[in-house]
Symmetry: C2
Subunit: 338 residues, 2 copies
C-alpha cells in the first residue's frame, strides 16, 4: 500500500498527518471565511446574532468505557467545541450509523446515556437521523453530533489576541480519557482504576467567560493529539514560542504509569473534559482559583506561558532541569480514541 | 437472531420499522418541542430569527452512481431537508468517517463533487471533522452533513395546515434515485439509461414559497420510503384520507421497467431531487405551471388530493380503473440507498 495514495489511520489521529489532510484537501476546496478560521466551531452572523456551528463524528472503541460511552462522548464533544469558542450551546443533532445485528439493549443504554448527558448539560437534541448498514460494514455504532451555539457577548477568543506573557492554564489532569480507552483496549490490569474525564464543559466555560471576558485570549479542548497538538497549532498561528513547566502539569499517577508502560507521551493523549486556556498574565492566578471552585476544574493549574522569540516552538522545562521540544504528534498511535 | 433484540437493516429503511424505532426509542428519550414536531428540520428561535437545523448521515452504496455520488448526495440531502421546511439554507457541516486504505484519488474526487454541489447551491460548508477507522470497520466512506437555515417569512408549513380538498403535487418523476442505485448494485443491463434525480432543491422551493406563501400547506422530499412513506405519514397525522390517481403520477418508463423487473413498487422508492407538496386547491394548477418553469420541476404534476373521511388511508385509483391502498413500506428491501 502506497502511503501517499491511500488513507491511513494516522490521517484521523489529530496530529500532523491530519492537519496536512485538512490543509491540503479540505480547506482549499471549501474556501470561505468561517471555515478558514479553523476554530473548534465556525462563526456566522444570522440576523443580529452570532451563531456558532460545529460537528464531530464519534467512532470510539470500546463503545462503553470507564467514565462514559460513545453516546455521552458524542454529546460532550460537540458541546465542548461550542463552549471553548465562547458560545452557549443551544441545540444538538444526533445521527446514528448502526451495524445490522447490533444489540437493541445496548442501543437503548447508549441512547439513555446520550439523553441523560444532554439533559444535564442543558442542551436539547432537536433533530436526528438513523441509518443501518449491513453486518461487517461498520463496527457496532458510529454517532455524529452537530451543534449550534450563540456567541457569548463576553467572549472574544482567537489566535490574534494572544500576546507574549499570556499564561497557559489547564483545568485538570491530562490524558485521562485517552489512557482509559487505550488501556481498556489493551486489557491492561490497572484499567479499572483509570476513568475518562469525559464531561460537558459549557458550565465551566461560561463561568470563566462571565468572570474574565476579554482577558481570556484563547480556549481549546485538547482532544485528539492532546495538549501537544493544541499548543503546536497555536505557536504555528502566532509565530511565537511557548514555555511549559513539566512539574506544573497535572497528571494522574496511574495515567502516567499507563502511558509509561505503553511508551506514550501523556501530552499527546486525548482529553474529553479539559480546557486549555491562554489568559492575560495579570488574571492567571484568579482564573485558576475560579476554576477550582467548579467540580470540573478542581485540579486547574498554570503550566506555562507565551515567550518572546521568533521560533514557533513549544519548549518544556523538564523535571530533571533540562529542556525539550514538545512536537506536534504524528497521530499514528491512537486510532478511534473518540 | 431474534428480531426484537437486534437492529435489522429494515430499521434504517425509511418505513414502518424505522418509524417505530424513532417513535419508541428516540422521541421519548429526547422529548422537546422542536424534536416532537418530527419535521425534516427542527425549528428554534434564536434572538429574533427562526433557525432550522437538520442532519443526515449518508451510507449509499455504490459511492459513485449515474447522476451523482455520496458527496453530492450528502450536500443535496441536507439542503433539501431545510428547503422543504421553508428555510433558506445558510451553512452546512461535513463530517467524514473513512476506512483505512481508502483511495486518496477517490476521496479527492468526492470532495470535489461535495464542494462543487455546495457552491452551485450557494450554501457554504463552514465546519467539519474527519475520522479514520481500521480496514473492515466501515465500507469505504460515510458522510454526515448537518445544516442550518433561516426560516423564510413567506413559509408556513405543517401537518395542522392541511385541509380536505388540498391538492398533492410532485415536482418530477418518481423513483429515479432509488432505481439507479438498486439497478447499479444488481448489475442490471439498463443501468446506464437510469440517472439519479439527486439535486439541491433550495432554489425551486424558495421560488415556490415566494410565489405561493401560505397556500403551500406542507412540503417534503420523498427520500427513503418514497412517496408512499411521506403520504402515509401525513394521513396518520391529519386523520384524513388521500386519493391518488395512478395515471397522473409521473414515472420514467425505464424506471418503471426496472422496478417491475425487481418486483418493487416505484411509490416506495427513494427520490433525492423531488418535492411532494400539499397546496390549496385554488392554486394547484398555477403551482404546477411555476414548477415547470424551473429546470428541476419540468415534469411537475397534480397527482391527487386530500379527501373527506375518517380513515387515514392513502388510496389510489389505478390505471385499470380499480382502487388500491398504498401502504407504508416496511423498509426491508432498500438498504443503503442514501
Amino acid at each position: 500500500m502506497n502511503d501517499a495514495n491511500t488513507i491511513m489511520l494516522a490521517h484521523g489521529g489529530g496530529g500532523r498527518l491530519m492537519n496536512d489532510l485538512i490543509a491540503k484537501l479540505i480547506v482549499p476546496r471549501f474556501a470561505n471565511a468561517a471555515l478558514g478560521q479553523l476554530k473548534d466551531s465556525a462563526e456566522m452572523n444570522i440576523g443580529a446574532e452570532t451563531i456558532c456551528f460545529t460537528t464531530d463524528s464519534f467512532v470510539v472503541k470500546p463503545l462503553v468505557f470507564n467514565g462514559g460511552d460513545i453516546g455521552k462522548l458524542a454529546v460532550c464533544g460537540t458541546i465542548n467545541d461550542l463552549a471553548v469558542t465562547g458560545a452557549r450551546p443551544a441545540a444538538l443533532s444526533l445521527s446514528l450509523i448502526i451495524e445490522e445485528g447490533f444489540s437493541m439493549q445496548l442501543l437503548e443504554a447508549l441512547l439513555d446515556s446520550t439523553a441523560c448527558t444532554a439533559q444535564r448539560a442543558g442542551v436539547p437534541i432537536v433533530t436526528g437521523d438513523t441509518k443501518v448498514v449491513e453486518k461487517g460494514a461498520a463496527d457496532g455504532i458510529y454517532i455524529n453530533t452537530a451543534g449550534i451555539g450563540v456567541k457569548l457577548e463576553a467572549a472574544e477568543v482567537g489566535f490574534d489576541r494572544i500576546c507574549v506573557g499570556d499564561k497557559i492554564v489547564v483545568t485538570g489532569t491530562l490524558g485521562d480519557h485517552g489512557m482509559t480507552i487505550l488501556s481498556q483496549r489493551e486489557g491492561l490490569e490497572f484499567t479499572t482504576s483509570l476513568e475518562s474525564d469525559c464531561a460537558a464543559l459549557n458550565g465551566l466555560a461560561e463561568l470563566l467567560f462571565d468572570k474574565f471576558g476579554r482577558d481570556i485570549k484563547f480556549m481549546r479542548d485538547p482532544t485528539r493529539g492532546g495538549l501537544a497538538a493544541v499548543l503546536n497549532e497555536v505557536v504555528q498561528h502566532i509565530g511565537l514560542p511557548m514555555e511549559l513547566e513539566e512539574a506544573a502539569i497535572p497528571i494522574d499517577r496511574t495515567v502516567q504509569a499507563a502511558a509509561d508502560m505503553l511508551g506514550l507521551d501523556v501530552l499527546n493523549i486525548a482529553n474529553e473534559g479539559r480546557i486549555v486556556a491562554l489568559v492575560d498574565q495579570d488574571i492567571a492566578d484568579r482564573f485558576v482559583a475560579i476554576c477550582r471552585t467548579h467540580p470540573l476544574g478542581r485540579r486547574a493549574a498554570v503550566i506555562g506561558s507565551v515567550a518572546a522569540g521568533t521560533e514557533p516552538l513549544v519548549e518544556m522545562l523538564t523535571k530533571a532541569g533540562g529542556r525539550r521540544v514538545v512536537q506536534m504528534p504524528y497521530g499514528r498511535e491512537l486510532p478511534r480514541i473518540c
